[in-house]
Structures are given as structure tokens and as C-alpha cells.
């Protein structure tokens, strides 16, 4: 009972806080939108798929990657608050409450995942324009987006928990999280990259997240034409990543 009550209350707090800070919406949804419009229009027609199976507008190729960018930014913005909260804020009181540590982790990750999902879905309104058709199954896309967001928030939580300052988090974001997104097939296809980079892309768990999102939007033949890991592999790695991040976040929280 305490577990559910604690988790729900912390989840609810994340949502309420978010909607009271309008600038966060601009940051997590606005920036990717601008990226998509500018980069998409700039590259435009000069983009071709390395599989050689026809042409694709770059705005269309970049669309799933942009959605994942929204998930990434939302998870960064909501986990960054852990750093200040834990030292001198709301989290201090949560840590001395008789509620299991798992409520702290689950409340935070569920809250952040919900926010990422809401913003991702708002952006999905543009899907018919970008993809030329609606995604093949909206519920499937929602499910995949939730899974990817869950894993990314878990990762953000893991980084933030032991971090002393928000500046440190920004450094990690620029040096690690953004490159992780750049090298995930979100911005350019795996096939077009030089050999060493292809390896980096293959070991990057987010590659599988981006591909899973892309797969959820197309039918099998179209997904095959764009190229990427097999759907089962993409979904498997994404689920495993989410699970591992949750367990690791729980472990660091119990530790201190």
C-alpha cells in the first residue's frame, strides 16, 4: 500500500511541477522541433538512403530521430533536478520517509516517462506530414516510445544520482548523451558511416531504440527499405536496456 501510494504521489508531483514551468515545455519540445525543421529543410532532397532502395525526404528520415530527441531532452530535464533536490530540497524529506527506496526510483522514472510521452505524442501530430501517412499503429508507437523514454530516464537518473553539481550533468550531456543520440541512426543511417563508426553505432543501445520507434511507424517492407537492426533485436535491446537502467538506478539509490 505504502509502495503504491508513495510511487503515485511522486509521479503526480513530477507532472504538476512540469505543467507549472512553461519554459520546460519550450525546451523539450521546441528545440527538437526547430532542429527538425531547419536540418530537415536544409538537407532536404539531397539525402539518399544507403540501402539504395529509393529516395526519401530527409524530413521523413529524421522524424523518428527527432521524437527520440524529445524523449532524451525530457528525461535530461527531469532527472537533472535530482541533483539539487537530493542535497537541499524535496528529496531530503523523501529519503527520511518510511517508504521503500523503489518508490523514489519508480515515481521519478514513471513521472518523467509520462512527460516524455505526452510531448512525444504532441510532436507525432506532425507524422502525417512527415511520413506521408499516419503511423501504422498509434498504440504500438506509444508503447515503443514509453519503453525508450523509460530507459533514457533510468540512464539520466543513474548519472544524476551521484553527481555533485548540475554543471557536471551538463558536461555529461554534451560529451555523452548528445553524441549517443547523434550516433544512433537518428540523424544519419548506419550504412552510410565509415567502418569504425558503424561499430560505435552498433554497440550504442539507443540505436535499437531509434530503430524500434522507426519500425513502429512503418510496415515491414518500408522498414526493410530504410535499413536497421531486425525488429525483434531492436525491441529486445530496448527492453533489456530499460530493465537494466531501472535495476541500476535502484541499486545506487539504496546505496546512499
Amino acid at each position: 500500500m505504502n509502495f503504491v501510494l508513495g510511487t503515485v504521489t511522486l509521479w503526480q508531483r513530477e507532472l504538476v511541477r512540469f505543467f507549472r514551468q512553461r519554459s520546460r515545455i519550450a525546451g523539450a519540445l521546441g528545440t527538437p522541433l526547430v532542429f527538425w525543421l531547419l536540418l530537415g529543410s536544409g538537407v532536404g532532397q539531397s539525402f539518399s538512403l544507403p540501402t539504395g532502395s529509393g529516395t526519401m525526404d530527409y524530413m521523413e528520415y529524421f522524424f523518428p530521430g527527432t521524437v527520440v530527441m524529445i524523449l532524451l531532452f525530457t528525461s535530461i530535464f527531469s532527472t537533472i533536478s535530482i541533483i539539487e533536490d537530493r542535497k537541499e530540497g524535496f528529496l531530503q524529506a523523501v529519503l527520511v520517509a518510511p517508504t521503500p527506496r523503489a518508490t523514489i526510483v519508480l515515481g521519478k522514472i514513471a513521472g518523467s516517462t509520462s512527460l516524455a510521452l505526452i510531448q512525444g505524442m504532441i510532436f507525432m501530430v506532425l507524422a502525417p506530414f512527415a511520413l506521408g501517412a499516419a503511423p501504422r499503429s498509434i498504440p504500438l508507437t506509444i508503447g515503443v516510445l514509453a519503453l525508450v523514454a523509460f530507459g533514457l530516464t533510468g540512464l539520466g537518473y543513474l548519472i544524476a544520482w551521484n553527481m555533485e553539481s548540475t554543471q557536471g550533468f551538463h558536461a555529461i550531456m554534451n560529451l555523452f548523451l548528445i553524441p549517443m543520440w547523434l550516433l544512433s541512426g537518428a540523424v544519419f543511417p548506419i550504412g552510410g558511416a565509415p567502418g569504425w563508426l558503424q561499430w560505435v553505432i552498433r554497440v550504442n543501445p539507443l540505436t535499437y531504440g531509434v530503430s524500434a520507434v522507426r519500425w513502429s511507424m512503418y510496415d515491414a517492407a518500408d522498414y526493410l527499405a530504410i535499413g536497421g537492426p531486425a525488429p525483434a533485436l531492436a525491441l529486445g535491446v530496448t527492453s533489456a536496456f530499460a530493465g537494466i537502467m531501472f535495476v541500476a538506478a535502484l541499486a545506487v539509490t539504496i546505496k546512499r
Binding site: L5, T9, Q92, A97
Partner: protein, 307 residues
Amino acid sequence: MPVVDVRNVCHSYGAHPALQDVSFAVEQAEIFALLGPNGGGKTTLFRILSTLFPPDRGSVRIFDADIRTQAAEVRRNIGVVFQNPSLDGKLTVRENLIHQGHLFGMHGRSLRTRIAAMMEHLRIADRSGHLVQTLSGGLQRRVELAKGLLHAPRLLILDEPSAGLDPGARHDLWEYLERLRDEEQVTILVTTHLIDEADRASRVLILNKGTVVATGSPHTLKQRIGGDIIAVTSVDAERLRDRVAEKFGLQPALLNGSLRIEKVDGHRFIATLIESFPGMIDTVTLSKPTLEDVFIDCTGHRLWEDE
């Protein structure tokens, strides 16, 4: 059985020892003050008592539950008021209290009734719907107190509760703490670096550089000092110190350029002192010993010197 039982607690941050062999007990319905300079180990002790982390060595039992192995039980029995507010500024007063209640397993009508009662007690009912970040420091501290007391803890632990409060708000806070102790038998433990605050406690523990230098009621601690405190300023304080020592067989302390003499019947001694050293004395003040004098007596330096 004491409410708080701390035995031989040691804790260090890397090579720096923060607490060394600290032992004490707090009894039911007393206000117990941990007094000491900043960096003296108070905050470390506060964090250990509030179950944020266990000490490296030693045992801490609260209501006979061990903080290492029975943390959840300890947490149900204690209310913690942090120095840095643990309130969420983006939420209203009521929302903050609702979340706190949920985290302690309270819900529904009983939670709403309790929140209303606490807001009434602490006179914040009219602020119920205000965002916490719009409240003054004094009001925020009251909300913080309501939050710490929401689950009706039997022990309340407060870290520097008067920090950032104006004298009026500080007075209100202490009056409320005394009422809690007297009417509801709540045991209260506060950390403080303020002498007048420690003076209001039932008992005081003086911490310096991580060790306990004295424990007792403010009255008995002050009685330890042999009589009155005479402070003397002089153009040549060092020479005066040597001559006073020579002539009267006393051991005056030299603190920040002024002589500090402990003497029974200080008012009589002052006359003798001035007659003995004409022209050497600029000012003389006579006072009853305070807890700061106890601190100086135990450590040889002032409470603030380490900062």
C-alpha cells in the same frame, strides 16, 4: 529507556574525522540542544539521527530501534525539519503536505483532517493554496514544521531551526516547540550554533571538533564556572595578564585582545583590580556566565573562532 541512545559514534569523511566517540542519551519530553560551531560535527550527527546515513562505527537507537537495521521503524517515529527547506516551491502549501502524508502512508479523509489541523496550529491555513516559493522565510519554516509533524512523530529533529528567521518568528517557533513538549510530550532535538537558543533547552550537549566537550542543563553547565565573568580591555593586555596572574594567582585568558577572568564575587574584585593597576585598564565589564563562557572554558576558544 531513553528516546535517543547514541553510543561511541565515530564518522569520518575520507581522512577528516567529523565525529569521534560521541555518546549521549535524550530522555522523553525534553528539548535537547546540540551546540557547537559550524564544522563542529552537528550536521553530521543530525544526518545520522535523521537516518540519511549510518555512522562508520558505534550504535544509534531511537525508541529502541536500531537506525541501521530498523530504519523504516525509526522513520515512522521521527519528524525531521531540515535547515535547507525540503519543500517544493512549485507546489502549494497543501500539495506539499499531501505528498508528505502519502509518503508516510496517510491518505483520504484522515490525512485531510490532519493537514487542516496542522495548518491551523501553525497559522498557515490562509496560505493553503499559495505556492511555497511565494512565502516568506518565516512562513516557509512553519510549513516545514507542519510537514515534519504531520505524521505525529514522537521525536522531532530540527537542524538550525532559527536560521534565516527574524527575532519575532524565532520567538514563535520556540514557543511552539515548548508547547509541543509540554502538551504532547514530544521529545525535541535541535542543532544550533546560537547561545540564546541553547539556553532554552532542557539539556545541552556541546560539540567541538567532533567530540563532546560537555553535557548538562544550561544551569548546571554555567555553575561549573567559578563565579562571575570579568572582561577587561587594556592598552597592553599581555602585560596586564602577566601581572594579574602574578599578583592574584589567577589564570586570565586572553581572547581577541581582551582579558577574561573567572572570579567569585566579581564586583568586589573589580575595585581591587582597578586600584592595583592604575592607568592600565580601559574598560571593565562584569557578567554572569553564559553557555559561551562554558564553551570557552572547555575549549579555550570562542564559539565563532573556527569559522
